[in-house]
Subunit: 216 residues, 2 copies
């Protein structure tokens, strides 16, 4: 079966076409994410001590953590997802996303490395961040800072390797901008904002600690 | 001219063999590094407030920062280093190192991406870390933590991509263990130790800040 991906000479023996519609694939992801975010927003609202910003951050960490662990985790450990005949949702997601970046179907080693680090080393810490914010743990900013830097590093490697290899992995300009650029831009924008906030919070806390020591 | 790298079918048109001896190449790097480290150790010793551990860390940041900016910076912006006929030292370094990992001579895009991030985004901040430790800046731990995580992420991508592609890029077991494993292991060991130390320092400072707020 011929595949819809670019470059056209990408070799994918045994490829089975995507069976769900684009709106079904995107819709299930959007609705599940909305459900997770609503649940975290509602539950965190029952505690009076958590600020609105911290509740928003808890929603982000739950959403991104589950995305890393479930969606990206499936990709990392399923090298033959493009041969799936059962219409399994997670295989459909990556068949569809590969229209924006065929390196996923082609199992590019930089992609698999970055996704592996993201799914295994960053996914579970994201869920820990939800807990750490809820409980006001001392390590909460350090953890959020560390994960955000990891997400930024991964997205940088993702885009730089594509540019170095000619940036020709999208089936059309629509998929290029919708999947490859737009979807990934959130993982540059939000981690940047969180990293800057954590940098400030942490550095201020260390500074006041240093000054306390000097006063003594 | 035939090249000495593995895999043997790596195509390097215009390759010019390394002209310096291995001991000259490694010796110049070792001696320059020793010079930098001695200079930082001596200069930092003139201030009474800096602990021995912080002085050691300043030596590390100066050494690793200059390695990132000069050695790795040269590699990133010199795609044709393997054609160099002049015996230029930095080209010799990468001709020699490619015996341990031919992906350097072969310009693998994951390698160039990671080295680019390391040279451009991590190199200068390493030198800032030397200054930040010397001056006891509040952002010193945050900065050291961020760079160390970046170094770890880069080294992970470096090794994982190699494994995924069959781990067959060394000219011999000697080069595999001496260049590829041993040399890189320092950039796993030392950033890990620094990241753990910074994590503890930062999280304690934030915690004591939180408690101060609660007491008020």
């Amino acid at each position: 079966m011929d595949h819809p991906y670019v470059p056209r000479d990408l070799h994918l023996p045994g490829y089975v076409p995507v069976s769900l519609s684009q709106s079904a694939i995107v819709g299930v992801y959007a609705l599940s994410s909305l459900l997770v975010v609503s649940l975290i927003w509602f539950l965190s609202g029952r505690s009076r001590n958590i600020s609105k910003l911290d509740r928003l951050l808890m929603c982000w960490w739950a959403f991104t953590g589950l995305t890393h662990m479930i969606l990206e985790g499936y990709f990392v450990f399923s090298p033959e997802f493009f041969k799936d005949k059962t219409g399994f949702y997670l295989a459909e997601v990556w068949k569809e996303y590969s229209k924006g970046d065929s390196r996923y179907a082609g199992r590019d080693s930089a992609i698999v490395s970055v996704e592996g680090i993201t799914a295994v080393l960053e996914g579970p810490p994201c869920l820990l961040a939800v807990y750490a914010i809820a409980k006001g743990k001392g390590y909460s900013y350090t953890l959020q800072f560390a994960i955000s830097l990891g997400q930024l590093y991964g997205t940088f490697v993702y885009f730089i390797t594509a540019i170095l290899e000619g940036d020709n992995f999208s089936a059309s300009p629509f998929y290029y901008y919708a999947y490859y650029i737009l979807a990934n831009s959130f993982w540059i924008l939000i981690p940047s904002l969180i990293a800057i906030r954590c940098w400030k919070k942490i550095s201020l806390a260390v500074q006041s600690q240093n000054q306390k020591k000097k006063v003594r």
